[in-house]
Every structure is written in C-alpha cells, then in structure tokens.
C-alpha cells in the first residue's frame, strides 16, 4: 500500500470536513486552513520524493486489479503538480487570513477552498478517465460557489458565463468518455491507451481526440474557447481570483498533456497542427487583449490566456525538450501568476481600486512590494535570470529544433508584448505619482471586499507575496536541478509505456491485493 498517493486527496477532504464541522467558529476554520494546507504540502513533498525514487507510484483503490478498479497513479508530472497545488494552497490560506473578511468566511470560504484543492489534487492523481471527470466536477462545484462569494452584480454576470461554458465543457468531456468506453470497453487510461493504438476505426479515434481537445481546451482557456475567463476572473474576492488563476486553468492544461501523450499519441499527425496554431493564436489574442486593458486584474486575466499558449505550444511541438519546457512554463506560471494577483489585492487594499489610472506612487511608499512585483512581473515576461526566462528559452529552443519557425517567432514577440503590459502596470501603479483626485476611499474598500484597513493584518498579506517572489527568483537561479526534473517529466510523457506498465503491471496489483486481503478479514 502506498498511502502517499491517496493522501493529497484525502487530506484536503478531511480539512474541508473539519472546517464544515466548525462552521460557526472562525478561529478554528482559519487554523484548519493553514494547518491542513501545511500538512498537504508535507504529503505532497513525500509523494515527490517517492516518485523521484521509484519513477511511478500506483495504488489500486479497494484492491481491484487495474483495468477493473479505479487506479491512482503518480508519475513525475502528477507529483510536481500536486506539490504546486499544495504551495498555492498554503500561501493562499495565509493570505486569506488577512484578505478574506468575516463576511466571506462566514459563507464557507475555507471549506470550499479545501474542496477545490481536493478536486485539483484528485484530477492530477487519478489514472481513470471517468474518475478524472468526477474530480473535475468536484473542482468546478467548489469554484462556482467561490466565484459568487459575496454576491455582487458583476460576480453574478461573470458566474453565468463561467458556469455555462464550464458545464458545456464537462458535457463534451463526458460524451467523449462515453464514446471512448463504447470503443475500447475500458475507462482505465493505461488500458485504453493500449487498446486505442490497435483500434479498428482510427477515424473515430481522431474524433475522440478532438472532443477531448475541445473539452480541455475550454477548461484551459485556449483560443478560441477562452472567453469565459476574462469575463469572470476579475469579479470574485482577490484570494479567490488568485486561487483560480494559479490552479484551475492548469488542470485543463495538465489534462491536455495527459491525454495527448498517453491516449492519443498516434493521432498526432492530425491534432498536432490544430494544437500548434491554437497555441500561437492563444498567445497573441491573450497578450493583445491585455494591452487594451487598464484594470489590474483584467490585464492579469488576459495574461493567463496568453501564458496558456506557451504551455500548449510545448505540448504541440511534441519533443521531450518541448514537453519539459511546457511543464516548466506551467510550474513557473502557477507561482508567478498567483503572486501577481496577490499583489493586486495588496495594492487594492492600499489604494482602494484596481483601476491603474487611479493608482500610483507605491514605489516610494512600499519599496519592498515594488521589488516583489518587479520580480514576479519580469519573471512573467521572461527576463533572465528569473524563472520565466528559462521556461521560454527551453520552448523556443525546442521550437527551433522542430523547425516551427513561425510559431517560435510568435512566442518571442508575445514575450515582448508581455513585457509591455508589465511595464505599463509598473509605470502606472508604482512609478508615477499618485493622482491627486484619488483619496483613499476607505468606505468603498469596506463595503466591497468587507476588508478592514487594519495595518497589523497586512503582514499576513505580505508574507505569501514575499515567499512566492522568492520562489520565482530561486526557480530562476536554480533552474538546473528544476530542469533535470522537467526533463524526467518530458521523458516519462514521451514514453508512456512506463506508465502503462506501472498501472497494469502484475507485481504492483498482486502485491496490493495480498496486502488488502488480511485487512478485509479483520474488519468483520
């Protein structure tokens, strides 16, 4: 039995249950949030070490042999993503101690956050395609409730688009799962991969591949399916925005990487072009959309879309190096994008608005905040020696090696435009002097975010920002060991036989059944 694979799912569920039990006790919920996520980080690191040692860690739920039961499996990609989930969960729970007011906490912010993390971790760890759908729904339902927390008009309008398009994506995904089962008679991804390779109707496999691509493309916010994201991500409380920005779209990207390297690697001749040009258009539309905006969180939302393009480009180029670069971009983006949203929350707290035109003078007022923003923003734009540079460098190099010159040129140009947007924020928020008509409107802050202008609580907001900025810097400085890990991911994804053997391999299954059996005898 390998408990470390199941624990990243069970722990947030447990924390969620505990905070539901203490529905009325605010201190207890806050304590559970931090302690639960700290424990989650510990378990996630345990999983990472176990995967580093063994390559793949597999458990069969209930001791049912692989193609029949539900398998939880962690390869390097899953383990890294679970660690990132835990890091974001921990930093956000600290941040929301100060940023989420009592009004939002009373309506279940913390239990929902735990359930969301459980759904995300479940999606990363499952080896069963219907189970993946279930985890997606767990994550979605929690995100729906978080999105409308507070119930303002903009949130309702954003939520209708978010809910509709995400449900549409779920139904497409579910239909694809049904057709997949009709074709190969299995829901286990490793088993399905083997059977799809020898399937009779390869045309049907291509249809399935495109259905999965559309479903996960909507969830990942790829062009032309991204419109729900900039319409909704700037509406909820800032801690929720940051949580969504860091994790939700990346689950869609993860699912794309998983199904296109494992299930549909033989249809790539057909789907690769769509992914490649989809990636290029995603990068361009995202960054151009951001250039037109003058609201802090809207700019960042469009940049999420633009950065998704880099990740999908890594998948579309389909070499071990490109995949390593794509996952590097995912990891780097989770940290940096979350941090930028957290910083937007602090500036909002300080100056009472998200409108760039009304802000200013923070470089003089809060130099360390400016440094944290500088590190994150320039990491996002890909300035060396920060983390984004290496992600971009690897992808561009893989692009040149694959002779996809046009798309590679687009990637470089988009980097420049990203820098433009980040410099725009820097100039407006930190560099220029505060416009005279902006009195800090304390009442508006109080009503809108029901946050308090209490200075002592602000360090709880600075701490996670400082941690994440430092992390982005360290990812750049120690890019070498990180890149070794990414290369291992690229290698594992490009050779799915290892994954298939680990899931279906007789040794693992039998061993688990043998361990399970005596336990079952004891229970009655």
């Amino acid at each position: 039995m390998r408990p470390e694979v199941a624990l990243p799912i069970l722990l947030p569920l447990l924390s969620g249950a505990i905070s539901l039990l203490f529905w009325r006790s605010r201190p207890m919920q806050r304590f559970t949030a931090v302690a639960g996520n700290l424990a989650l980080l510990g378990v996630a690191l345990w999983l990472l070490v176990a995967v580093k040692l063994d390559g793949y860690v597999v458990i069969q739920m209930g001791g049912w042999q692989a193609p029949y039961g539900i398998t939880l499996v962690a390869d390097m990609l899953s383990a890294v993503m679970v660690v990132m989930t835990a890091i974001i969960g921990l930093t956000l729970s600290i941040y929301s101690l100060a940023s989420t007011g009592p009004g939002h906490e009373r309506f279940g912010f913390y239990p929902l956050m735990h359930l969301l993390l459980a759904g995300v971790a479940g999606a990363f760890l499952t080896g069963d395609v219907f189970n993946l759908y279930v985890w997606f729904e767990v994550m979605l339902v929690a995100s729906f409730a978080l999105l409308i927390l507070g119930g303002e008009k903009a949130q309702m309008e954003g939520a209708i688009k978010y809910v509709t398009l995400n449900l549409l994506a779920s139904v497409i995904f579910l239909s694809a799962v049904g057709l997949l089962y009709g074709m190969v008679g299995t829901l286990n991804m490793a088993d399905a991969a083997q059977r799809l390779a020898v399937a009779e109707h390869q045309g049907m496999v291509e249809v399935l591949a495109v259905m999965f691509m559309v479903a996960f493309g909507i969830k990942a916010a790829a062009f032309p399916l991204f419109f729900w994201l900039p319409a909704s991500y700037h509406t909820p409380p800032v801690a929720v925005s940051a949580l969504f920005a860091g994790l939700l779209t990346k689950v869609g990207v993860y699912a794309l990487f998983r199904v296109f390297t494992l299930l549909f690697d033989q249809t790539l001749g057909y789907t690769q072009d769509i992914l490649l040009w989809g990636a290029a258009l995603t990068m361009v539309t995202g960054v151009l959309g951001a250039a037109a905006q003058f609201e802090f969180r809207r700019i960042l939302s469009f940049h999420i879309v633009s950065q998704i393009g880099y990740m999908i480009l890594g998948l579309a180029l389909y070499t071990p190096l490109a995949i390593a670069g794509g996952i590097f971009a995912v990891v780097h983006n989770i940290v940096v994008k979350t941090n930028l949203f957290l910083i937007s929350g602090i500036t909002r707290r300080l100056q009472g608005t998200y409108e760039l035109k009304k802000m200013g003078g923070l470089y003089r007022e809060r130099p360390w905040l400016a440094v944290a923003f500088f590190l994150s923003a320039f990491a996002l734009a890909g300035v060396p020696p920060l983390s984004g540079f290496f992600a971009k460098f690897v992808i561009v190099r893989a692009g040149i090696e694959a002779e996809a010159y046009v798309v590679t040129a687009v990637a470089l140009l988009v980097g420049l435009l990203t820098l433009y947007s980040m410099v725009k924020i820097w100039n407006e928020v930190f560099w220029k002097t505060l416009p005279e008509d902006n009195l800090v409107p304390a009442e508006e802050v109080l009503v809108g975010d029901d946050s308090r202008m209490v200075p002592p609580s602000l360090w709880l907001m600075y701490l996670p920002v400082a941690l994440l900025a430092l992390f982005a810097l360290l990812m750049g400085i120690f890019a070498e060991p990180l890149m070794a890990m990414m290369n291992q991911i690229g290698d594992q994804l490009m050779h799915p036989q290892g994954y298939i053997d680990a899931v279906l391999g007789a040794e693992v299954g039998v061993e688990d059944v043998l361990i399970e059996a005596p336990e079952q005898e004891e229970t009655p």
């Binding site: 279930v134 729904e137 729906f144 579910l174 049904g178 089962y181 008679g185 829901l187 959309g289």
Partner: protein, 115 residues
Amino acid sequence: MEPVMAVAIGMLYAAAIFLMLRRSIVKLVIGLMLLSNAANLLIFTSAGMIRGAPPLIPEGLPAPPGAVADPLPQAVVLTAIVIAFGVLAFAVVLIRRAYEIVKADDLDKMKETDT
C-alpha cells in the same frame, strides 16, 4: 433499438444547443439540463444495449452464461446523473439570484464584465 436511441440523443443535443443560444437565462439552464441528459443517454447507448439479461452469476458458475448487460456504464450514468443534479441545482439558484440582482432575464443585459 440503437438507431432510435441515436436519433433521440441527436435531437436532445440539438434542442439543448438551440436553447442555450437563446437570450433568456431560464432557457439557458433548461438547455444545460437537456445537454446532460443527452450525454447520459449517449454513454448508455454507446456501451451497447442488451435487453433482459441482468449481469447476475447463477450459483455454482464462475461467470454469467451468455451475453449480459454491462453494469459499468449504468454505474457511470448513475454517477453522472447525481453530479448533474447537484450542478444544475446550483445553476437554478444562480439564475434566480442573477435575476434578482440584474432584474432581467436577458443575457444581453449582462455584458458589463465582458471586455
């Protein structure tokens, strides 16, 4: 049986998409309901339909004799129905709240957050 089901499922998908393209948020949610029902029937049908043969193993035999209905898609559909029920319950509450706040049943009046 399968051709009839296929036509019915296709009509459900078409009706759902048609309703979702309307401007009324109530019709939008009805469209979502039809869509999830269509997906459930699709799973049920694509796995193959066998009538009157429950997957029961008679006493003393190691496996059921002859072809039996596949229980797995039924379990999958059951799970999907429960999930759809929960999600749609949320959607119904959401459109009610949205109607109270925006004071309109019209998606064209909800464009403030678009860019």
